[in-house]
């Protein structure tokens, strides 16, 4: 039987358990060395479908600053984080922007919106 063991360091609480996950035919069959159920759930998700929030910046014109910080409105698949960041590198928005404004809807068809994490006023013409 083809078995693979992978170490997963838990980030749920400061205990930072180092779990050992046994995978057989792409499925989690055993989780060892986690102190609690939350750690086991975390380890399973990290193996099956790891997800992350994305925070980055996009360019903004006519604003008080040249960059607008943005955040995903929910977690997205870990293996898509880099592609989303590179996609957002080419996006330009225009000031003024309000916190929560959607900067990029349904990014890369993932069903996740990228929203402004702050408001940014238009620059005063000098």
């Amino acid at each position: 039987m083809e078995q693979e063991k992978r170490a997963v360091r838990c980030i749920v609480c400061p205990l930072s358990c180092l779990g050992e996950v046994t995978i057989e035919k792409g499925e989690v069959v055993a989780i060892k060395n986690m102190t609690c159920r939350r750690g086991e759930d975390y380890a399973r998700e990290e193996i099956v479908a790891p997800k992350r929030m994305l925070t980055t910046t996009v360019r903004i014109t006519g604003g008080e600053l040249p960059l607008l910080p943005v955040v995903s409105d929910r977690v997205l698949p870990k293996d898509k984080v880099m592609a989303c960041a590179r996609y957002l590198a080419d996006i330009v928005v225009r000031a003024p922007i309000k916190e929560g404004d959607v900067v990029c809807a349904d990014i890369l068809g993932l069903g996740v919106n990228i929203v402004a994490s702050r408001s940014l006023a238009a620059a005063n013409p000098r």
Partner: protein, 421 residues
């Protein structure tokens, strides 16, 4: 010189200063001024674009700018709070005179009935850790790079080495990677990372960035621009081991080697300082050794959660407002809080025990090393006031203990905070 009077003058418009201003207003102060040297309020939160802020305070995970905006909106909506932006404090006097300067109003004299120090902290630099070698461009602190990358639109390098595994360094490893740079390695002199496990996993392991523990940078190379570094393994005394040194090409070195409370102004007015925290000695009301001067946030001790910074700002703002309104302090005994076995720092360093009714007091402490299953004890005159068990205690994660009025009543001498053996 133009002269203005305020009830409470707050130096610094970051999370501590904003919370202090709002709290001062809630406790009756009518004329409050926040002095901020940057072009906007929010402090370092504005460059911390990652999420994870506000879990305690707002019960949700906000980004740094998102957390700041909630406070800024409350401050802007409050008619009792004035804000001076782009303004430096050039002098602070023990009589609570603050001299400020900006390019619009010039020099102004501000007289406060109470002052709140909320200047935050700054990063240790190359000078503080004395890395040998040449002095080329491209060597900067992680926080300076964070501001360039997240707010100003510059990338400080494409082939990046990070020295120090503090949280800002880890966060910047991910940021530089997302912006298209290559982070070659993170070196940490200690045998463990000083950052949160979550950041080691999500900022380094996610991007296959190697973390070399027990390693130091022994030389910086390059004339105009950094061209590379030499690194080496260290022994148990943190000294480089001869013969383990190797060379690595890079065009940027970021330093994440610790934070120091920014207390030039505090020293100018002769405040009593705590050599362990690097901040002023305060009591549970966050009043310093000089009556009428309060302090809160990273200027007192470096925090790991902004939620606690806001909480401390509220305490300082509250008592500053009461003093500004002429409330006479009741006669009180002052006792010292002493870090005992296994405890490195405790804030506040003093506890004021009133003759009449007591308030509560929170102790914020850091342990000396990571330990599992510990019991923290607070005692005075040989009598235990409080004991609390923790499944794990780490130096990088501040622990909070609540002392209630009943505990304060039992204080008869120095208050010892220690891990029970």
């Amino acid at each position: 010189m133009n002269e203005k009077q305020y009830d409470v003058v707050i130096i610094g418009g970051g999370p501590a200063g904003l919370a202090a201003g709002l709290s001062a207003s809630q406790h009756g102060a009518k004329h409050i001024l926040v002095v901020e040297r940057d072009r906007e309020l929010g402090g370092i939160l504005q460059q911390c674009i990652h999420n994870g802020f506000g879990l305690h305070r707002f019960d949700t995970e906000l980004t740094g700018p998102g957390y700041a905006e909630r406070y800024i909106n409350m401050v802007k909506a409050n008619p009792s709070i004035d804000v001076l932006l782009d303004t430096m404090v050039v002098d602070l006097a023990p009589d609570k005179t603050v001299i400020v300067i900006n390019s619009v109003d010039g020099m102004q004299k501000i007289i406060g009935k109470a002052i709140v120090l909320a200047m935050g902290c700054r990063e240790r630099t190359r000078g503080a850790i004395r890395i040998p070698g040449t002095r080329p461009a491209g060597v900067l602190t992680a926080g300076a790079a964070q501001r360039m990358v997240n707010m100003e639109g510059y990338i400080p390098g494409q082939q990046v080495v990070i020295f120090g595994s503090g949280d800002i360094g880890l966060i910047m490893a991910r940021r530089m990677t997302l912006e298209g740079a290559k982070v070659l390695a993170v070196f940490e002199i200690m045998p463990h990372s000083s950052g949160l496990t979550r950041n080691v996993v999500q900022c380094l392991e996610d991007y296959d960035i190697p973390l070399h523990l027990s390693h130091t940078v022994t030389a910086i190379h390059g004339t105009e621009r950094i061209t590379g570094i030499t690194y080496a393994e260290v022994d148990e005394n943190l000294r480089p081991i001869v013969g383990t040194d190797k060379y690595m090409d890079c065009d940027c070195l970021l330093l994440s080697v610790g934070l120091i409370p920014e207390n030039e102004l505090s020293r100018d007015i002769g405040l009593c300082m705590d050599p362990l925290t690097g901040g002023p000695v305060v009591n549970q009301e966050r009043e310093t050794s000089l009556p009428g001067f309060f302090a809160a946030g990273n200027v007192v001790h470096v925090h790991d959660l902004v939620d606690f910074v806001s909480e401390e700002g509220e305490i300082a703002g509250h008592f500053a407002a009461r003093l500004a309104q002429g409330e006479k302090s009741l006669s009180a005994q002052i006792y010292s809080v002493v870090p005992g076995h296994g405890v490195r720092t405790v804030v506040p360093q003093k506890i004021k025990v009133l003759a009449g009714e007591q308030g509560a007091a929170k102790l914020y402490l850091r342990v000396t090393e990571t330990q599992r299953k510990i019991t923290l004890s607070v005692s005075s005159g040989g009598q235990t006031l409080l004991e609390k068990r923790f499944p794990v205690a780490k130096p990088g994660e501040m622990i909070v203990l609540d002392l209630q009025a009943a505990h304060l009543d039992k204080i008869v001498g120095d208050i010892i905070v220690e891990i029970k053996r």
